[in-house]
């Protein structure tokens, strides 16, 4: 069990948590800016209002004739329920003549304009004696007296209080909420990642059947998990195949090698003449050649699957290729009593490796001739199609069951029907490897009345009327 501090540390290290933190920080900064703006605007308006009051009052009092100024000042001070008005008249020497401010404030110029100033001490019964911060104005009257008026800034302070409180009420819960949300998100993410991590650990220990956990949603983690699981399916399949290939290869080599061994052993004991020895050696060599052919074929498929030969691709005329293949295999078909037909409906050129394509088509023809009964037909044809040219080999053999069509492409796989016929089970694997190297699609179809194998050469057909011909006759 992890300690809470460690868990917190882990969460704090997650992307979700860091983003939440960043967003909360940004939100707070934005709120502070907004509130500062509101405060600044409110203060500005309030100050303007107070300045208006003080200045107009000062003007009214100053304009009152002689002794009436004192009365006007007293009446303004009296009509003040909240105790915000301050004012005094001072003689030219600075002596207080009227009002509640005892001394002329230092730093307040007698220019008739509003300033922020500290006045005091204050002489008033309902308020303390301390100096007050006010918006104040001072002006000289015509007779040399100095009029000082002040208006308390309490209201501004109150506005500030309200704003700061609102800021606290708004921002603090938002920050707390987002941090909590971030923690939950990070924790949940962390939990899923931990599950994925454990699954990967098990896969790395060799449990290839293990899959990454998914929640069945369509979120990013599920998408990645789905892709990785797809990859694991393929890897598992490949590993199974390799395992199968290793077993099959060992088995396929053991059969001819066992024959070699028994033959040599028997001939050592029983052969009496040079001719008998030679015959035994020839049979042993034939068996070894069979074993070597299996090894060569496996290596060759490996070489093709490795994909290096793609570098040597050049345009291959499919019509010419099929004509060559038919020419090469026609005598073999004839020897077996099978009719080989060639149809070239539309010729086209595709980028590819001519030798490999010929070998692939040759393997298909070889299979077709091998499995089709004497007196029937094998047809090699080239069609133009919506998805490119298509090479088709059709025979009258027993066909391949739909359930076996995937598996016949695996190395060493042999159908029930083909086990009695000589072969290595590698021919179609090679065709599949060549098709895959070229990016072509290999399709196996047909019915019990014959097998149809198609190689769909995806690059588009280049129509060539000069070469588009029908050749129903034998080559």
């Amino acid at each position: 069990m992890r300690s809470p501090m460690r868990l917190l540390g882990l969460l704090a290290a997650t992307t979700a948590f860091r983003w939440t933190l960043a967003i909360a920080g940004g939100f707070t900064a934005m709120s502070l800016l907004l509130f500062a703006f509101i405060y600044w605007q409110t203060a500005e308006r309030e100050r303007g209002r107070i300045d208006g009051i003080v200045l107009s009052e000062a003007r009214r009092i100053a304009e009152a004739p002689g002794p009436a100024a004192g009365a006007a000042l007293e009446s303004w001070l009296a009509e003040d329920p909240h105790g915000r008005h301050y004012g005094a008249l001072f003689g030219p020497g600075g002596a207080q003549l009227a009002g509640n401010v005892q001394a002329p404030p230092a730093g307040l110029p007698a220019d008739g304009l509003a300033h922020r100033v500290v006045i005091g001490p204050i002489d008033r019964d309902h308020d303390g004696d301390g100096p007050e911060v006010v918006r104040g104005v001072a002006r000289r009257l015509g007779d040399g007296r100095l009029l000082v008026l002040g208006y308390d800034l309490d209201e501004l302070d109150q506005a500030q209080d309200v704003i700061v409180r609102a800021l606290g009420l708004g921002v603090a819960p938002a920050v707390v909420l987002s941090l909590a949300g971030g923690t939950v998100l990070a924790w949940r993410g962390q939990r899923r990642i931990a599950a994925v991590h454990e699954a990967i650990g098990r896969i790395m220990q060799g449990q290839l059947r293990e899959r990454l956990p998914m929640r069945g949603g369509a979120d990013e983690l599920d998408k990645v998990a789905a892709a990785v699981n797809g990859m694991l399916d393929r890897i598992e399949q490949l590993v199974e195949e390799i395992r199968g290939v290793g077993d099959s290869m060992a088995h396929d080599l053991r059969t001819p090698l066992t024959r070699v061994r028994t033959r040599l052993e028997r001939s050592r004991d029983e052969a009496l003449t040079r001719e008998e020895f030679q015959a035994a050696a020839d049979r042993a060599i034939a068996s070894v050649d069979q074993a070597l052919a299996v090894v060569s074929a496996v290596l060759r498929i490996g070489e093709i699957e490795h994909g290096q030969r793609r570098a040597a691709f050049a345009p291959v005329d499919l019509g010419g290729l099929l004509r060559d293949a038919a020419e090469l295999y026609e005598p073999v078909a004839e020897e077996k009593g099978v009719r080989l037909h060639l149809h070239i409906a539309a010729s086209s050129a595709v980028p590819g490796d001519r030798d490999l394509l010929l070998e692939a088509v040759g393997n298909l023809l070889d299979n077709a001739v091998k499995f089709t009964p004497a007196g029937t037909d094998v047809t090699l044809s080239l069609h133009g199609g919506p998805d490119g040219a298509c090479i088709r080999v059709a025979d009258n053999g027993p066909g391949i069951l739909p359930s076996e069509r995937e598996r016949v492409l695996q190395r060493f796989y042999r159908t029930e029907k083909s086990r009695t016929v000589e072969g290595s089970g590698l021919g179609l694997s090679l065709v599949a490897a060549v098709a895959s190297l070229h990016g072509f699609r290999l399709r196996i179809g047909g019915s019990a009345a014959g097998c149809v194998v198609e190689i769909a050469c995806c690059p588009a057909v280049v129509p060539n009327p000069a070469q588009a011909d029908q050749q129903p006759a034998r080559v």
Binding site: A293, S296, R309, L328, P331, V332, D355, L358, D366
Partner: protein, 225 residues
């Protein structure tokens, strides 16, 4: 006596190959490293070279390149366990005259070495004659005595190839590489079927056989003595 220099590091293979060729009248010398082989071949003491591709110290292809660079044109056959198409091309580009992948049949190696020793086979003549056989390369006609042979284009090329190498053993793989120009190993009897067809046209039932199969893997065309 033909002098064959075998540059091969595997002692067992070297011994078997050397023994086989000594039994066929060759004078065989062996070198186990590239440097040793280069010194031997450079001294001009060989008529034909068989060079393994992978050798300790100096690579087989480097040996051939060094020889060719020094102006020594002794025909060389490259032996290699690396039997990719690229490897073959690389071997020939380095100055090798032929390339044979391991494992190989000794008879195949022998046929190829004989072919190398008899080079060049493709002369400028336009009329080929072997015993009663006559091949007109310009008119594209073939005759055995007075009988005109009706040959398909590929059969004509096969016969031309065999007539140019009359008396010489030619293997299936050589025919497939040189007449068809394909670089893959076809089903074993594919070439045999084509040769069988040619033979039926060449040798009528009552006639002397001109085209013979040798030990099941190669062919030879020869005039009767």
């Amino acid at each position: 006596m033909t002098r064959l220099l075998l540059i091969e590091d595997d002692a067992v293979t070297a011994e078997e190959v050397a023994g086989y060729f000594r039994g066929r009248g060759y004078q065989v010398s062996c070198a186990a490293t590239g440097t040793e082989g280069l010194a031997e071949a450079g001294a001009g003491r060989a008529d034909v070279l068989v060079v393994d591709r992978l050798l300790p110290g100096m690579d087989g292809l480097a040996v051939i390149e060094a020889l060719r660079h020094a102006g020594i044109r002794t025909p060389a056959l490259v032996l290699s366990a690396l039997d990719g198409v690229d490897e073959r091309v690389r071997g020939l580009r380095a100055g090798g005259d032929d390339y044979l992948g391991k494992p190989f049949a000794l008879a195949e190696l022998e046929a190829r070495i004989e072919a190398l020793l008899r080079r060049p086979a493709d002369g400028p003549e336009t009329l080929l004659r072997v015993g009663p056989l006559e091949l007109d390369l310009v008119a594209r006609t073939a005759r055995r005595g007075s009988r005109v042979l009706d040959l398909l284009p590929r059969e004509f090329r096969l016969l031309e190839y065999m007539m140019r190498r009359a008396g010489q053993t030619v293997t299936r793989a050589m025919l497939f590489e040189d007449v068809w120009n394909y670089r893959f190993t076809p089903r074993s009897n594919l070439v045999d079927v084509h040769m069988g067809r040619l033979r039926r046209k060449l040798d009528a039932p009552h006639e002397v056989e001109l085209l013979c199969t040798v030990r099941g893997i190669s062919f030879v065309l020869d005039a009767p003595p």
